[in-house]
């Protein structure tokens, strides 16, 4: 079996979680079947201007740390073909100046002419590749699989979703022979919001990176530190974090809050923190890399993700596998299959504050959640995700 994967980004050139997913999942799948991964050839130009630099810590995005690993392994004279365990096929999109939506447009159009070299199946990821997938399906009469990592409804946090993107999403989901959703939560969203029959939707949870699964046990002496780590954007609920932080400090003075990551709400969130929290009780870190992230996870008493709508939430698994208790919203997809996390409604900042204080104050809660969380997170491997994805390819 050979699969043509219509991707968007790959380490070391990417800005978001899609690249990590593509890299990890298809590295595993390529041990079982032939895999061709298509990505646009963007040259040095990339979304959010963050990539066109050399290999240093400014390199981009909250997930920047994955890049260095790949980069360093292959040296500065890296070769794509040499490194990846699957075939990478660059698609020329002929853009001289980078504009995200324009690049998406050109990339999808390029699939009018591309030959998929005998692939039996086409697999694409999120709306940015859906139209290419539909074309391939029609031109080569192969089944179309689409993975929904997030929907426009998630990304907009329910506020002003862009209709034209939702239309593309809907077309892709309709044309797809089978849909992979990253959680039951997302599956429900696809059924309820996009009106897709549930029979053709399969849930495959993401894995957590290997380096997170191989960490030594941590200790549970309280540091009094509580972590927010992720993009600072409406979808992830940073305002609820600050609100809960303020309530937690009222109940238990002395807790310190660390807000790691960047995003469109960074300044707003800073302003909010300034007015709601004592000055010495919080810190914004900006971008952080792998080592910093690990250090933060492992030196915090708790990790909080009050996401308004989070299709999966890989940071929850990273936190758990680091041994750090996670407090998450009920609207965080990965939570549906986790026992060893504390869950609250994203708006219920009283409850979130209570959980924060409970974890800081009661060592028994901290260490039990931490230790059980490590064990539970270990089941989320990319190998398992690949096995389940293969089952979806083979199902009728």
């Amino acid at each position: 079996m050979k699969v043509a994967v219509i991707g968007w980004e790959l380490p070391p050139f990417f800005s978001g979680g899609l690249g990590i997913h593509t890299f990890n999942l298809f590295s595993e799948l390529s041990k079982m079947i032939d895999v061709d991964v298509y990505v646009p050839h963007l040259g040095p130009l990339y979304p959010f201007n963050s990539i066109k630099s050399k290999a240093n810590n400014d390199l981009a995005g909250i997930y920047g740390y994955y890049q260095f690993k790949v980069w360093r392994k292959s040296g500065f004279n890296y070769s794509w073909q040499l490194y990846y365990p699957f075939n990478v096929r660059f698609v020329e999109i002929g853009a001289s100046e980078y504009n995200f939506y324009d690049a998406v447009e050109r990339y999808n159009r390029a699939f009018d002419k591309i030959d998929i070299n005998g692939a039996d199946i086409v697999h694409c990821h999120d709306w940015i590749t859906f139209r290419a997938g539909i074309k391939i399906k029609e031109r080569f009469r192969v089944p179309l699989i689409v993975t929904v990592h997030s929907t426009e409804m998630d990304r907009s946090g329910g506020f002003y979703p862009q209709k034209w993107i939702m239309d593309i999403e809907k077309d892709g989901m309709r044309e797809a022979d089978r849909i992979i959703a990253v959680s039951q939560y997302t599956k429900k969203m696809i059924v309820d919001t996009y009106g897709i029959p549930k029979e053709k939707i399969f849930v495959v949870h993401n894995g957590v990176g290997r380096h997170f699964l191989e960490l030594p046990p941590r200790n549970y002496h309280s540091t009094g530190r509580v972590l927010y780590f992720g993009r600072i954007t409406a979808q992830k609920g940073p305002e609820f974090f600050i609100e809960a932080a303020s309530k937690a400090i009222d109940m238990h003075p002395g807790i310190k809050f660390v807000i790691a990551g960047i995003g469109d709400l960074l300044n707003k969130t800073k302003e909010k923190a300034e007015s709601a929290l004592p000055h010495d009780s919080y810190r914004f870190t900006g971008f952080i890399d792998l080592n910093e992230a690990l250090n933060l996870y492992r030196s915090s008493d708790a990790f909080v993700l009050p996401a308004v709508s989070e299709p999966f939430g890989i940071t929850v698994l990273e936190s758990m596998s680091s041994g750090t208790p996670a407090i998450i919203s009920k609207t965080t997809g990965v939570g549906e299959s986790l026992r060893n996390v504390l869950k609250a409604d994203f708006w219920d900042t009283d409850m979130i504050a209570e959980y924060i204080v409970g974890i800081v104050k009661y060592s028994g809660l901290r260490s039990t959640l931490g230790m059980e969380g490590v064990l539970e997170s270990k089941q989320f491997t990319w190998k398992r995700a690949a096995d389940e994805t293969l089952k979806v390819y083979r199902s009728k």
Binding site: M251, R339, N340, L342, D350, E354, Y355, V357, G358, Y362, S363, G364, L365, S367, T368, L369, M371, E372
Partner: protein, 370 residues
């Protein structure tokens, strides 16, 4: 075997409501009255009353223990269940068995507290039912030589324990033994007990459906003197709901047993019938819970240990403190092993061990402040 001794544990804890941190120092009402009422009502209607009626109509003999926290709540929320137990004791089919009033873990940490709670339980049984127990069954069959010593010194003649794999590898559970303290020791036959309490309605069990005829045959074909069938009373109508056919099974059982010459007896009757030729020593604590049959369902993780040590430290000797000692509170905090987790979740009104812990700890902070 031509004798069976059925023993049934009747217990309901006073469950704690979700008590938040902000209430500490302000609210001193801890118990989840609505939930406790609802559960007592439901179990009375589905289980206690119909099961006791079936027992009496068809002549099923069983020894029973009723925890103090059950009796209190039954009187308050569903007095008809108390009436039904009264009739059962009067019918001569049942023997009352003692335990701690609070269904607590007092036996493992404080001998005088243990004795006090047993005393309370014995007087409650006398007050409510006019019965005086001579047999003792500790919380969830928690047992050791040391506990048997304490039980003997309180004047009991016989004690119940789990027939763990380790013990039954050398001593069949189908005889009566002597505890190291000298009192009679009954070991639970967990296979035959679980056939009813766990497997009765399990479609995947090769023996499904279990009929009274088949079950009586198994007993008659098993070597030994006596089948000790110990389980939750709530097996009949609550864990195994009426729709599973459990009541039909119970109704048919006395006839099937009789047809094979098998007699149903109380613990006291059994004790008189059989020789106790061997003494069994159980130095380590055992119980009937989970797959490990030890204390891990209550003290297996750090939360449970912290909650338990806080509880011990408070040492207030009043009704509220003792109600918090009910072992179920700790059981709800269990993170368990994967085999046991379904059972734990079935019993957990908070759905998560972490929420159970938080409420419990918050309540204890409030008690400490008073």
């Amino acid at each position: 075997m031509n004798t069976i001794a059925i023993f049934l544990e009747v217990h309901q804890p006073r469950r704690l409501r979700r008590y938040s941190m902000k209430e500490i120092g302000h609210s001193h009402s801890y118990f989840w009255d609505e939930k406790n009422y609802e559960i007592m009502q439901r179990v009375t209607k589905k289980c206690y009353v119909p099961a006791l009626k079936v027992f009496m109509e068809s002549g099923v003999k069983a020894s029973v223990s009723l925890s103090g926290t059950f009796m209190e709540q039954a009187k308050e929320y569903a007095p008809e269940s108390i009436d039904e137990f009264k009739s059962y004791f009067k019918s001569g089919l049942s023997e009352a068995v003692a335990e701690t009033y609070y269904h607590s873990l007092a036996s493992i940490w404080n001998e005088s507290e243990f004795a006090e709670q047993v005393k309370q339980q014995v007087s409650a049984l006398k007050r409510e039912f006019g019965v005086k127990p001579e047999s003792f069954r500790n919380t969830e069959l928690i047992y050791s030589d040391k506990i048997a010593d304490a039980v003997k010194s309180m004047g009991f003649k016989r004690v119940l324990a789990e027939g763990t794999d380790y013990i039954i590898s050398r001593h069949s559970p189908n005889y009566i033994y002597r505890a190291k303290s000298g009192i009679s020791l009954f070991l639970r036959n967990y296979r035959l007990s679980d056939d009813i309490s766990f497997r009765f309605s399990n479609w995947e069990w090769p023996e499904y459906p279990l009929t009274a005829d088949k079950y009586a045959r198994w007993i008659s074909e098993t070597p030994g003197n006596i089948a000790n069938l110990f389980m939750d009373f709530e097996t009949f109508g609550e864990h195994q709901v009426a729709e599973t056919g459990i009541f039909e099974f119970v109704r048919a059982l006395p006839k099937e047993l009789k047809g094979r010459g098998i007699e149903m007896v109380t613990l006291e009757e059994a004790d008189r019938m059989f020789e106790k030729s061997q003494t069994i020593s159980v130095p380590e604590i055992t119980s009937w819970a989970d797959t490990r049959r030890d204390l891990s369902p209550w003290l297996g993780n750090e939360m449970q240990k912290q909650a338990f040590s806080e509880l011990k430290r408070i040492d207030k000797k009043d009704h509220v403190w003792r109600s918090l000692q009910t072992s179920d509170h700790l059981y709800y905090m269990s993170t368990g092993t994967s085999q046991d987790i379904t059972v734990h979740e079935y019993f957990n009104p908070y759905k998560s061990p972490y929420y159970a812990f938080l409420s419990f700890m918050n309540v204890m902070q409030d008690i400490k402040m008073q």
